[in-house]
């Protein structure tokens, strides 16, 4: 009933992350030493780590990586059910740094909005940029990604699912078609409807 297909293979992911690393460095010419990658939990973090590893490999530049938990900043925090925040772990101060937020998917833009608020509470960065593996469109806020791994225009009835080896055991991006007869929701079997 639910049709799922792979829209990014592990090779495509690898080459996208490679390209992202180059673009991040190019986009910050001369300021490599003030870069700080902040992965938005959960899957933004391994992506940030991989990008940092790529930057090290290509440029010999060691870039600090931190984990940003946005649970406490979401605009839907009290309607989506129990919120369990994880620790935000940033190895250095954000003051005067160029922050590159890293996330797996940008969709409505609300997660990024929350991430920006979280970053501002940590200090005063000089600049904040955004790198995402997948941009699937349908923005609800005026937010754009600076660096995009792949543009995947999608219908609202579709689901984009990112798997990463560090978290899910495999690298792939899946697109799920939800038949219109199924209640429009998360579309992932087994996760209960919750927002009420």
């Amino acid at each position: 009933m639910i049709q799922t297909r792979i829209v990014m293979s592990s090779d495509e992911i690898r080459s996208a992350l490679s390209r992202l690393a180059h673009e991040v460095v190019e986009g910050n010419q001369g300021e490599g030493s003030s870069l700080l990658l902040l992965g938005i939990r959960t899957r933004g973090l391994p992506l940030a780590e991989r990008i940092a590893a790529n930057i090290l490999k290509f440029e010999g530049l060691a870039t600090p990586v931190g984990a940003l938990d946005i649970a406490l900043y979401r605009d839907d925090v009290l309607s989506r059910g129990p919120t369990l925040p994880h620790v935000t772990n940033v190895p250095t101060s954000v003051d005067n740094r160029t922050i590159v937020l890293v996330d797996d998917v940008i969709f409505t833009g609300r997660s990024i909005r929350a991430a920006m608020d979280a970053v501002m509470d940590l200090g005063r960065p000089r600049r904040v940029q955004l790198a995402v593996l997948v941009d699937r469109g349908h923005r609800e806020l005026p937010i754009r990604a600076d660096y995009v791994g792949k543009n995947l225009p999608s219908a609202l009835s579709e689901k984009i699912i990112v798997h990463l080896t560090e978290v899910d055991g495999a690298d792939e991006v899946l697109l799920s078609e939800i038949p219109s007869s199924v209640h429009s929701g998360n579309g992932i079997e087994g996760v209960s409807d919750r927002a009420k």
């Binding site: 939990r41 959960t42 899957r43 933004g44 938990d69 649970a71 406490l72 900043y73 979401r74 605009d75 839907d76 925090v77 009290l78 309607s79 989506r80 059910g81 129990p82 919120t83 369990l84 925040p85 994880h86 620790v87 935000t88 772990n89 797996d104 998917v105 969709f107 409505t108 609300r110 997660s111 608020d117 979280a118 509470d121 940590l122 200090g123 699937r136 349908h138 609800e140 609202l156 689901k159 984009i160 699912i161 990112v162 899910d168 209640h183 429009s184 929701g185 998360n186 992932i188 087994g190 996760v191 209960s192 409807d193 919750r194 927002a195 009420k196």
Partner: protein, 342 residues
């Protein structure tokens, strides 16, 4: 149905599922005692509290999570540290915190407890933190409220769940898991709401609990039948009057505050005798493990239940308990603040 924020952010959807493996509908309304907390829930609270500890370390110690929510603290017993802890917890989460104490006019004028809590609910209070000298008062409040959540900040001699949670959190932060640890609780256990709530929590998390103190202050009825009744929750709780024996190889020593009134009411011959037999001092503490923690719910009677050297010694984690207290209370406020409709 998940909100559009993560409806299509697939990663966070799966993350949510993994974060709540056994509690799909765990919307807790009230925190009255630890007897109804499952292990998973306690561990989830600890995770949340760790995130809150990080917030407490920041320069800007504030997150917008509970913005627009109102927390009332309604204290019918004087308390500095607990109230401040709740107030800080609420404010760091951007909630509005309003403190009401006995000296505040309407309560002092003899307005009934019921009228007070109903009035507060009518002002759209989201959370009511209640401390009351009579056991069961928060239960009474919670059954008469249908929109406001109640957190028990200490009711009579019955329960003090937030204190117990922060005690458990402190132990876990320091010693890893609580499972199998030897935890000695010394003092007036029969009248200690902290001890009682801790008993539930420690037993849920698999600690080996040893109670020590004068027999006139031991909660015998709570332990009654534990040899005979299968499945008694306190079946493995040990009672050892001799503190030197009890404290041997302890991982944690919790000293309880001894109120002077106990001597006045004839439950103890004298405080001097109590201190001789049950004071946690450096020499007794040396019988515990080197890594042992000394904890106390505060405020301390130095020289009675705890010697000054022990109280300020390296094993004392009393100040850490205070910091952890704010983090735990932040986690609890987040967990129970009522959900928006729709």
């Amino acid at each position: 149905m998940l909100n559009d924020m993560d409806q299509h952010d697939s990663s966070t959807v799966i993350e949510t599922k993994r974060m709540n493996p056994t509690c799909p509908d765990n919307q807790r309304s009230h925190v009255l005692d630890l007897d109804d907390f499952r292990t998973e829930e306690i561990n989830a609270l600890f995770d949340s509290a760790r995130a809150m500890l990080e917030v407490l370390e920041r320069g800007v110690k504030k997150v917008p999570t509970l913005r627009g929510k109102t927390v009332f603290t309604l204290f019918y017993e004087p308390s500095t540290r607990t109230r401040i802890s709740f107030e800080t917890a609420g404010k760091l989460l951007s909630a509005d915190v309003i403190n009401i104490s006995e000296s505040t006019s309407s309560v002092g004028k003899g307005e009934s407890f019921l009228d007070t809590v109903l009035t507060l609910q009518a002002t759209q209070a989201d959370v009511l933190v209640v401390r009351h000298p009579h056991s069961g008062a928060p239960y009474f409040a919670s059954r008469n409220l249908n929109r406001t959540s109640v957190i028990n900040a200490g009711d009579g001699t019955h329960a003090h769940p937030t204190q117990a949670l922060l005690d458990l959190f402190t132990i876990e932060q320091r010693l890893g898991s609580i499972q199998g640890k030897r935890v000695v609780i010394v003092g007036d256990i029969a009248h200690s709401r902290v001890a009682r709530s801790n008993l539930w929590g420690l037993v849920h998390l698999g600690a080996h609990v040893v109670l020590s103190g004068p027999s006139t202050l031991m909660p015998w009825d709570l332990l009654e039948g534990r040899e005979k009744r299968p499945g008694h929750p306190f079946a493995d709780v040990e009672v050892e009057m001799n503190l030197d024996k009890a404290i041997s190889e302890a991982d944690v020593v919790m000293a309880l505050r001894l109120q002077r009134e106990r001597q006045d009411f004839g439950l103890l011959p004298s405080l001097r005798e109590y201190a001789r037999l049950w004071q946690v001092d450096a020499s007794r503490l040396s019988r515990a493990k080197n890594s042992a923690l000394l904890m106390h719910p505060g405020p301390m009677n130095e020289g009675i239940e705890v010697s000054p050297e022990a109280a300020h010694g390296a094993q004392s984690k009393i100040e850490e308990q205070v910091t952890n207290g704010v983090a735990i209370r932040m986690a609890l406020l987040l967990a129970i603040t009522p959900r928006l409709e729709g």
